[in-house]
Amino acid sequence: MIISMRQMKVGEEGVISAVNASGELGRRIREMGLVPGTSLSVQGKAPLRDPVAVRLTDFVMSLRNGEADHIEVEVNR
């Protein structure tokens, strides 16, 4: 099933199905390798539940919940 990245739980894995952001935000997300087909897992959330830390194959990055809203992820639930 496809959900927004914000709704992923800590430890959950998924594969990006779409990135619905354009302009600078879209570019920042894509240049880090968050493009359709990328598999990722949610590694953790900051003490106030925002931002979120995401592990990709080779590295970890963080982004705010508001930014994660633009990313759709296919997960097994």
């Binding site: 779409a18 990135v19 354009s22 302009g23 600078e24 935000l25 879209g26 570019r27 920042r28 997300i29 894509r30 240049e31 880090m32 390798g33 493009v35 359709p36 087909g37 990328t38 590694q43 953790g44 900051a46 003490p47 106030l48 539940r49 925002d50 931002p51 830390a53 592990r55 990709l56 194959t57 080779d58 590295f59 970890v60 990055m61 963080s62 982004l63 705010r64 930014e67």
Partner: protein, 820 residues
């Protein structure tokens, strides 16, 4: 000279690569008009000198951030002979994105496949030969830049490069058709210059705003045609794939990279746990992580401000020595005063920040290079974002005095770790509101005078007020002067790494040196200006003569034989030792009694006893013991009406102690005269200040300052406070004719203010509020100018002045209205 440019992602080891090549021969400056740091340096390889240009660390060559624009313009327009792209071998997929973009530009490229040790330990093997082929036969050299492996080989490979054909990345039928439509138009107009026409077409499709603007100016017809073609493509892509050209191009590029990765990268195991992830479970934990963070910040604080204070003391000793040397060897007059009060005090103020800056930068460099700083930003971003700031703003706030007792100068410099421009400016404009170590003496003096029973409570309120003020002002600045969306927080959390000593030292010394070079000159000028403001015009001859006559009368009442010993060269202060302050030495009564009882020449026991007294009181205790030991002789000497019998009494004192016993006896004998001279000197200083331009200014602004409850003396102190906040205390001392008030020991000033009719608790509260929000000291202003440009430095001065006046008037008027 050959020029090589270094490009690469942040955390790819590019800085290590640069350090390995250039060592300490680096030149750091800013690109004109923007705050992006420019680093270059020379390296000698095989006897050939090469200029190395270290481009800012970036993930792609889009034109959104200043760093990206700088890097792209350098690659497009400079005479770099080749580019070395430092690529993290353990993170190849993402790092190849930039490499691909450089290859599409057609700039000669050599890839440094870096961090091969980290890649190996993660079970990653890379087929370098195949990678080279996939990128269009560019040299690929495996390196471990941290350990200086493969660096020279990379440079050799880069130097042997001639031209390279741009790499062809296929973008799929729709986009390719559009590119094919654009290219002939571009080629015909010659708008691409030396860059490939295909590259320009792709950049245009990607929505590069700078290229679009340039094209509109240079070739309006072509621009109109390109715009039309792009819109057609975007409509088509939106209707079929629901994305625009920019996204489609990035997706295709990553698709291309993935085919490369499949061919060249082999992983020994699919699933594995990373050490960094395990550490993060603890260090970014909701509770434990926060506790560790506060502990680390506290530790950095202690290092910076406690250890730094030791070094500051040594520096201060050196400055005092220089001051004393100049005082003793220069002829009296305006020049001496200029050198002492203007140059040495002013430059000394700058110098005294050096240890703080040095230690602070060591700490920050360590946290930054190890990867921890990114975690701090991650944990606190939610709070700071609420006020229009960034998670990375936390460090500058804490260093500037977020827990009372920091310094805004290193705070302002540490904003460099914030990569988002708006948040960075808002941060460095508001960190001066924190309670730096120089404001504390001001608060301490006022609290001691009016609220001595609620000391801790008032200090807590002051801290809360400055934080609230800073955050609210930041929010307002982000609404007004720096409006708009914050920069996205898409940020890498780099793997934890032990920083290298070399990297940290270069980082630290570099920044410290920059501070000196730039700050030294401006600060010297302002320091001299402030000195002149307080010193000129000097008192008219007639007034000076009046004070001299008063002094002469006092000196007349001293026995003729003692007059020489009683007056110094300047004729203003008695040359006699000051009397023992019984209150100050009271805690050391037992040591004093034992010291006084020691037989002459027992230096061993004396030194052992003195070692139990702290540095600040040792001289006073030594003097007190001497006075105690020779009490009868001193009393007898002081009581003698003539000088005739002195020799007889002094005979009972050991030879080496006679001078000190006699001068102490004289100090007792002429205590009343000494006090009179001091009072005369202080009166003269007060009148001189009132007569100076500074005094005139202080009087001139009383119509305004009356609204805040400040008299002209306070005004002068506040003008002086621009030099450094602790000057408020010492200038108030001068203005209230208390002589030189030591900011760290201002009890006399506190007592004076508590009994002065012009002062009441509300005045003190108003002055505290004013001091929190007042114009930053000029060292900080220079630092802001250095980091954000002269425009923001001036803004900071004007805005803070206005804010402090408004808040102080509000405090005083509301307080008065309520009857305080």
């Amino acid at each position: 000279m050959a020029i090589l440019a270094l490009a690469g992602n942040p955390n790819s080891g590019k800085t290590s690569f640069f350090n390995a090549l250039t060592g300490a021969r680096q030149h750091v400056s800013n690109y004109p008009g923007i705050t992006v740091e420019r680093k270059n340096g020379n390296a000698v390889v095989d006897g050939q000198t090469i200029q190395i240009e270290d481009l800012p660390g970036i993930y792609s060559l889009s034109a959104y951030s200043a760093e990206e624009v700088v890097a792209r313009n350098f690659l497009l327009k400079s005479d770099a002979d080749a580019v070395i792209d430092v690529v993290d071998g353990a993170n190849l997929e993402r790092n190849l994105y930039l490499a691909l973009q450089i290859r599409e530009m057609g700039v000669p490229l050599c890839v440094s496949l870096n961090m091969m040790d980290a890649a190996k330990s993660r079970g990653i093997t890379i087929d370098e030969k195949r990678l080279s082929e996939c990128l269009g036969n560019v040299p690929v050299v495996p390196t471990i830049a941290r350990h200086n492996k493969g660096v020279i080989e990379t440079v050799r490979a880069a130097l042997s490069l001639t031209s390279q054909e741009p790499l062809f990345v296929p973008y799929g039928p729709d986009i390719e058709a559009t590119i094919a439509e654009m290219v002939p138009h571009i080629e015909k107009s010659g708008a691409a210059g030396t860059a490939p026409a295909r590259w320009l077409a792709v950049e245009y499709l990607e929505g590069d705003s700078i290229i679009r603007q340039e094209l509109e100016v240079a070739a309006p017809q072509l621009a109109a045609r390109m715009k039309e073609i792009t819109e057609k493509l975007n409509r088509h892509l939106q209707s079929t794939l629901k994305i625009d050209a920019e996204a489609a191009i990035a997706d295709q590029r990553y698709g291309y990279i993935r085919t490369i990765i499949k061919e060249v990268v082999k992983r020994s195991s699919e699933k594995r746990t990373y050490a960094s992830d395990v550490i993060d479970k603890v260090l970014t934990h909701r509770v434990v992580g926060l506790i560790i963070m506060f502990a680390l910040v506290y530790f950095l604080y202690v290092c910076t401000f406690v250890w730094g204070a030791y070094l500051q003391d040594y520096l201060q000793d050196g400055i005092d020595w220089l001051s004393g040397f100049v005082g003793a060897h220069m002829a009296d007059g305006a020049l001496k005063s200029l050198v002492l009060s203007g140059v040495i005090d002013g430059v000394g103020a700058v110098l005294s920040f050096a240890p703080l800056i040095l230690i602070m930068f060591l700490g920050i460099s360590f946290m930054e290079d190890s990867g921890y700083l990114a975690r701090m930003a991650y944990m606190l971003d939610r709070v700071f974002r609420y006020f229009g700031l960034h998670g990375s703003s936390v460090m500058p706030f804490l260093l500037s005095g977020g827990i009372a007792g920091g310094c805004a100068v290193p705070g302002v410099f540490s904003t460099r770790t914030i990569r988002s421009q708006k948040e960075r400016i808002a941060t460095l404009l508001t960190v001066p509101f924190m309670n730096c170590g120089a404001k504390l003496p001001v608060f301490a003096m006022l609290i001691a005078a009016f609220f001595s029973t609620h000391e801790a409570l008032i200090m807590v309120l002051v801290t809360v007020l400055s934080w609230a003020g800073a955050l609210i002002v930041a929010r307002c600045i982000r609404w007004t002067a720096l409006p708009g969306e914050g920069t996205p927080f898409v940020m890498e959390l780099p793997p934890y790494r032990w920083p290298t000593l070399k990297g940290i030292l270069i980082h630290t010394l570099d920044r410290t040196w920059q501070y000196f070079r730039k700050a030294g000159t401006v600060i010297l000028a302002v320091s001299i200006l402030l000195w002149a403001l307080m010193a000129y015009p000097s008192l008219p001859q007639s007034v000076t003569a009046k004070f001299d006559a008063q002094r002469a009368t006092v000196v007349q009442s001293v026995l003729p034989a003692d007059r020489a010993a009683f007056t110094t060269d300047d004729g203003q202060t008695p040359a006699l030792p000051s009397l023992v302050d019984q209150d100050a030495v009271a805690p050391f009564a037992s040591q004093i009694a034992k010291l006084a009882a020691l037989p002459d020449g027992n230096t061993k026991d004396r030194d052992a006893l003195l070692a139990t007294v702290d540095d600040d009181n040792r001289d006073a205790v030594t003097a007190a013991a001497m006075v105690e030991k020779y009490k009868p002789q001193i009393a007898a000497l002081a009581g003698l009406p003539t000088v005739d019998d002195r020799a007889r009494i002094l005979d009972t004192v050991p030879q080496e102690e006679r001078d000190s016993v006699l001068s102490y006896a004289l100090a007792e004998k002429y205590a009343a005269q000494s006090d009179k001279l001091i009072v005369i000197g202080d009166d003269q200083a007060e009148q001189a200040l009132a007569n100076s331009y500074g005094g005139w200014l202080g009087h001139a602004i009383t119509p305004l300052s009356r609204l805040m409850g400040f008299d002209w003396k306070t005004n002068i102190a506040l003008i002086g406070g621009f030099a450094a906040k602790e000057v408020i205390v010492s200038s108030l001392g001068t203005a209230y004719s208390l002589g030189d008030v030591d900011p760290d020991n201002s009890a006399s000033l506190s007592q004076h203010l508590a009994h002065d009719s012009a002062w009441r608790p509300l005045t003190a509260i108003t002055l505290i509020v004013f001091s929190i929000f007042y114009v930053p000291c000029f060292v900080t202003v220079v630092a802001i100018g250095r980091e954000a440009g002269i425009k923001w430095a001036l803004f900071s001065m004007g805005f803070n002045l206005l804010l402090s006046i408004v808040l102080a008037i509000a405090t005083f008027q509301v307080g008065s209205f309520l009857g305080y």
